[in-house]
Symmetry: C2
Subunit: 89 residues, 2 copies
DNA sequence: TCTAAACATTTAAAAGTTTGAATGTTTTTC
DNA sequence: GAAAAACATTCAAACTTTTAAATGTTTAGA
C-alpha cells in the first residue's frame, strides 16, 4: 500500500458518516445505499457521494445486484492499512 | 478510543505532508518544526498549522525545548488507532 | 408498458481546509 | 540590551468538501 492509498483510505475513514458506515458494515456484513440512507439520515445523492468515496478508497466493495448496490467491507484493504500504520511503530 | 478520536487521527494522517511528517518521525524519532519546514518545503506558518493538527489528533507529542518544538510519535495513540481499525475486521 | 424503486449525475450553495504574508512572542546569543 | 532564531497567531485568498434539489438511468413489478 503506497502513501497515496493510505491518504485516500484514512481520508475515507475521517468522516462521521463514513466511519459509521464502516462500523455498520463490520457489524452487519452487507448493506445497500438505501440502508445507508436510513442509517445516516442523509439525502440519497449525499449517500451516493459518501459511498463512492469509500469504494474509491478501496475500503468498501460494491456490487450491483438488480437495482440495489450491495456494499461490504474490503477486509484485505483494511488489513493493509493497519499493517502500514503498524509499520510506523 | 472513541469515534471522534478516530476521525481526528485518520484526518491527521490523510494529508500528503502530514503523512510524510509521521513517516519522518517514525524513521528519525524526533524532529523540530524547522526540520519539518526543510522536509516539506512549506512556509513556517503552514508547518505550524500541520503540526498542530497532528498534535491535536494525539498522534504526535510536542514538548517545547527552549525555542524549539520537539516532536515525536505518540506510539500508544497510533497503536490505539490500529487496534480500533482491526476491530472492524 | 406503466409505475415505482434504487442509484448516479449535475449543479450550486455553504462550510471547511490549505496556504503564505504580516506580525507577535519567547528564547538564545552577541 | 539588540539582533536573530524558532515558533504562534491573524488574516485573506484559493481551493476542496459537503450537502441537497433537480434530473437522468436502470431495473423490478403490476
Amino acid at each position: 500500500m503506497d502513501n497515496r492509498a493510505v491518504e485516500k483510505a484514512t481520508n475515507a475513514i475521517s468522516d462521521k458518516y463514513r466511519l459509521g458506515i464502516l462500523q455498520a458494515l463490520a457489524q452487519k456484513g452487507c448493506m445497500t445505499n438505501t440502508d445507508v440512507q436510513e442509517l445516516t439520515g442523509l439525502s440519497q445523492p449525499c449517500v451516493s457521494h459518501h459511498v463512492k468515496l469509500l469504494t474509491d478508497s478501496g475500503l468498501v466493495e460494491a456490487r450491483k445486484e438488480g437495482r440495489n448496490l450491495h456494499l461490504r467491507l474490503n477486509k484485505e484493504a483494511l488489513h493493509e492499512l493497519t499493517t502500514f500504520l503498524n509499520g510506523l511503530l
